[in-house]
Amino acid sequence: MKKVFVLFIVLSFVSCKNTNNNTTTNEIIAFIIDKKAWPLPPPPPIDDTTTTEISKKMLDSLFKIKLKVAVYPTLNNFSEKEMKIIPEKYSTEFDLKNNSQNKITFNEFFSQKGHKIIVADTIEMKKYKDFQSFDLLFWFSNFYYSKDNQKILFSLGISRSRLAGSSALYVLKKEENTWVTEYFKNLAIW
């Protein structure tokens, strides 16, 4: 009976830890989307060779646009290829081999900027090169937490269509209760 009780305590602890990480992960996903989901500004007119800055007026109007953002439904662990590009210092700071954070509850995203966050319909995505039911796709890797839970390592691909996107590796750290980018590296473009 005593063993069963101990097992129950241990399982409860593990379960709480995963739930907490899930909550944190969902918060981070929403935070990243709020940070990086922007409508595409039109380019400067082709016959205007002098404009190299976006106007304040256009920026203001872009700020007001609410987007429909899809999150890819699976989060994969880093591939061997991705492991190789992680800076050495992070290889020890994050437990890259034994990551258990791979199940996310996809119904708790809340964008503070008013974007609508949905789960991507991957069957629909296969039919068309352009996204039919959302503006942007955010495809996250699994999230790797530092031992003290104050840093997160992940990679992310952001696409405007199946053939227009880019990916990058990120390390975020918590500073005064908010996440800031500590490390960033571009990976690929498509």
């Binding site: 500004p41 060779t49 800055e53």
Partner: protein
Amino acid sequence: MCGGGEVDLANEVILDESFVNNEKLKCAYDKLTADDSPLFRDTVGVFIDDPEFNLTFKVGNCSYSDDACTDAKNPNDIIITIVDVNQSGLGIAALILHEAIHAEIHRFVAQFESGVDINDRPRLFQLYAFYKGWAENTQNEKYNWTQDAHHHYMVENYVNQIANVLRRLDNNNYPLSYYMGYGWDGLTSYGYTSSRLTAAENTQNQNLRAIVDTNSQICN
């Protein structure tokens, strides 16, 4: 090559074993090489004269794309990975051209950084400055804004060229309008934003493209 792939001697481009062994990909690549269009020469072909820059084609996985990706972390050694090989031969040729344009722009910008005349392509650098500034203004500087500059540049310069090449590969079986859908692959949101494409035009392009996809025998 040690891995069993090929070095395309005409273009000095490295074709990985995975690429060479894929019948459809190799067929589409060979058709593009034989066609020797200005677009192919100006993208894949430019890696001929510049021994400092390698371009490798392979088949594999891209972490966040089920279609293809171009890895230019090291611009001197650019790798194009094709993921989606289950599409029409013309679709694959369009995919190769799309990624090759990315590779060539990466090469060009890297060259500029080591001294190439900026006036060679002022519009490209204007787009680079514009989208870099936009990312900074939205406090989103940790975003690869180069993709937006690349894709707008593609819309302005390459959509028609891609369509033309594919039409020629398909033995001019249909008018050019039937191939425009391939040229716009992945670029429609950029077309809408720059008012170079409407939803109605895109629908028409896709309908015509479907006819070509059904009937074309090229590398299928």
